[in-house]
Symmetry: C2
Subunit: 99 residues, 2 copies
DNA sequence: TCATTATTTCGGTAATTAACGAAATACAGA
DNA sequence: TCTGTATTTCGTTAATTACCGAAATAATGA
């Protein structure tokens, strides 16, 4: 999970994931959208693949990248974890401030 | 939001937040829990403060750190955003796989 | 096999970051 | 004002990272 936060700490990598939200794309298509060299992007792809945030599938000469939503769901649980165990702290009555 | 992911990309900073989940702590108390120099921790505190992930309040010679849950909630929304806009993608019937 | 297209690896540079200890600052109390 | 405690700032070093272009690899089709 440590690595997932690290992967998301890069603006460029978040842009890649954002592109993949709407549809699967090849490395080249992603490169056309972002103003970053292809070799640099390849490095970002490696980081995203290492965390399983993206999954690849080769189709002939191109490689298709797609978002792996299950890892994002795990991330979601980790962020929720940052909020849990709050019950033991004093609650000054600020719960549900307005409906 | 970019900065929040960056703040969370550090293991040490996540440890700090984890400690603050259960109760507010002073810089010194946090330093006692983690095996990192106080000056190093001070740098981490600056990062966490810059993103509003923690809030400080001086009490005499000590400074109390507390978790700012509202920023975590914003983060939660951002992670959910990584999942949204998925509706337009083909769904191969894998929704609600069980139940 | 050769040429073409797509992608990655390699080598190098500049910027950022975490870490440390020492010195500086902030506050409380004698 | 002086002392002690708490925390931050400063100066430095080592490690990591993003970036680029050139070269290498992979796959296709002629």
């Amino acid at each position: 999970m440590s690595d997932v936060f690290n992967a998301l700490s890069s603006q460029t990598r978040r842009q890649i994931l954002s592109l993949l939200k709407s549809r699967d794309m090849t490395a080249g298509e992603i490169a056309d959208e972002l103003s970053v060299g292809k070799s640099t992007l390849s490095g970002h792809f490696n980081v995203l693949k290492a965390t399983d945030l993206v999954v690849t599938e080769r189709q002939g000469t191109t490689i298709n990248y797609s978002l792996n939503t299950s890892v994002v769901e795990d991330l979601l649980a980790a962020v929720v974890g940052l909020l849990s165990s709050q019950e033991e702290k004093e609650t000054k009555g600020e719960n549900d401030p307005a409906i």
